[in-house]
């Protein structure tokens, strides 16, 4: 039999290997090595972490491929990189340089206000953000092989991550209680593809791996998301904007593995130094929120 690459099983499968792990934002090879040493299961290569993108303003784009390649050279774990929502040429470039996963991300400035990338056209897998089940299943319909709840990136405030995870997981529970004839109405009300609604009900979980993102800053935050029922955690600004990144990174990795063991959580939460400076996401004007980007 001819070997097949870029299949749905392959795309979804890599995300399955990341489960129970922490994916860390890094801006250079040195940070990537710190993340790998701390036990990260993958890194996200980008030029500025979300907290800096917020502070700097302006247009945030795909990172310099040379900088991403340097990070790919520096570590043995998978490397992800972000492209703008709808910017399929940035995605083509990221695929050409061989990144392991592309994040079509609301953290960058959207390139298309109507359309996301048709991700089935690529061999490389994609992860996309969502705030609710409809958004998640639309992205999966377009070919996303992994989902992350959006939260509110660059704030260090976990409240939006909790809101989005509860929304998604609550909807999946709701689906379990529905009869077959209610599914089309659910699909219409949530703007979700019917086939994926059916699949989600049958599986009793998101049809692809679902991580939390956007505002996780402490081991307790990470364990909170895990206990709510996500498969793993992205930490963006929370690590390298804190006082002692290596120590905090290792502590968050441990907290995701031992998320149900409060005595271990207490131990790893000790003496981590300053957490990143937080920004209260609940009181943030809608216009400043990144999570509202994408549909």
């Amino acid at each position: 039999m001819e070997a097949k690459t870029g299949t749905w099983t392959e795309k979804k499968g890599l995300a399955q290997m990341l489960k129970g792990g922490v994916i860390m934002d890094v801006v250079n090879a040195e940070q990537a090595r710190i993340a790998e040493d701390a036990g990260a299961c993958a890194v996200m290569a980008l030029e500025r972490v979300p907290a800096d993108i917020r502070a700097d303003g302006g247009v945030a784009r795909m990172s310099d491929p040379d900088m991403i390649l340097k990070i790919m050279d520096a570590v043995s774990i998978p490397v992800m990189a972000k492209c703008r929502i709808g910017h399929f040429v940035e995605a083509q470039i990221l695929e050409a340089i061989g990144v392991d996963y592309i994040d079509e991300s609301e953290v960058l400035t959207p390139a298309d206000e109507e359309h996301h990338i048709l991700k089935h056209n690529f061999k490389v897998p994609f992860v996309c953000g969502c705030r609710n089940i409809g958004e998640a299943l639309r992205r999966i319909g377009e070919g996303a092989a992994m989902i992350r709840t959006k939260g509110e990136a660059g704030t260090g405030d976990v409240v939006e991550a909790v809101r989005h995870a509860r929304s998604v997981i609550g909807s999946i529970k709701q689906l379990q209680t529905m009869n077959e004839e209610e599914l089309m109405t659910f699909a219409r009300n949530n703007g979700a593809p019917y086939e994926w609604v059916k699949e989600t009900k049958e599986l009793g979980r998101m049809p692809v791996v679902n991580f939390a993102a956007g505002g996780v800053a402490t081991p307790a935050d990470a364990a909170l998301m895990m206990q709510l029922g996500v498969d793993g955690v992205f930490v963006g600004s929370g690590i390298f904007k804190s006082g002692d990144p290596a120590k905090r990174a290792a502590a968050i990795v441990k907290s995701v593995t031992h998320y149900q063991d409060a005595s271990i959580l207490a131990e790893v939460s000790k003496n981590l130094g300053e957490a990143m400076v937080g920004r209260n996401a609940a009181h943030m004007p809608e216009s400043e929120k990144l999570a509202v980007r994408g549909w």
Partner: protein, 192 residues
């Protein structure tokens, strides 16, 4: 029969659901005490560097090595790396199996692939004939087997993708991602 699945990171839930399908009792292993009362252990796919960090941090290295001396242990992908003696770079390994493994041997994710394998021993043990469909994800290869370790399966070009040493089993692919329970059945026969 109770089989533990190393649950430090990776796709341990997929292994657990395969074991449940063939009626085996399961347990998640994160700390040394979780090894008590187990008849065998599966180490899943994931990131071997992450496994190493967490196993060292929580004192699992020695207990796992002890366990592997007298019990069946199976590593898939990252688990196979963790089980091996030598990977040509410095990271924590259990060193239970006398095999040399190369990480990410096929390249990056875009090079990950699915293919069918002929695995005579598996077919004999399970009384089946149809090919085994194998899923490789950023997969390692087994460069060489030494001592009592022997080759169980190779690709057409000769690269080794499954090996066995007594009650120890290493596969560079992911039987837990397919609907085919034959490899899990085979492992249970080693644990019995």
């Amino acid at each position: 029969m109770k089989i533990g699945v190393l649950a430090l990171q990776g796709d341990f839930a997929e292994h657990i659901s395969m074991l449940k399908r063939i009626g085996v009792e399961t347990a998640e292993v994160r700390l040394p005490k979780h090894l008590d009362g187990l008849d065998g252990l599966i180490m899943p796919g994931g990131e071997s560097t992450t496994f190493g960090k967490l196993a060292v941090a929580y004192g699992l290295m020695e207990p796992l090595q002890e366990f592997g001396k007298s019990h069946a242990v199976w590593g898939t992908c990252a688990g196979a790396i963790f089980l091996s003696k030598d990977i040509g770079r410095d990271q924590p390994l259990l060193g239970l199996m006398d095999i040399k493994v190369q990480r990410n041997a096929f390249g990056r994710q875009v090079d990950s692939f699915e293919t069918d394998l002929e695995i005579d021993e598996l077919f004999k043990a399970t009384g089946t004939k149809h090919p085994y469909h194998a899923v490789f994800i950023r997969a390692p290869i087994i460069e060489s087997v030494h001592g009592k370790a022997r080759v169980l399966s190779s690709l057409e070009d000769g690269r080794i993708v499954a090996a066995q040493e007594g009650h120890l089993l290493a596969t560079s692919f992911h039987p837990e991602l397919t609907g085919d329970t034959r490899f899990h059945e085979y492992f249970i026969s080693l644990a019995s």
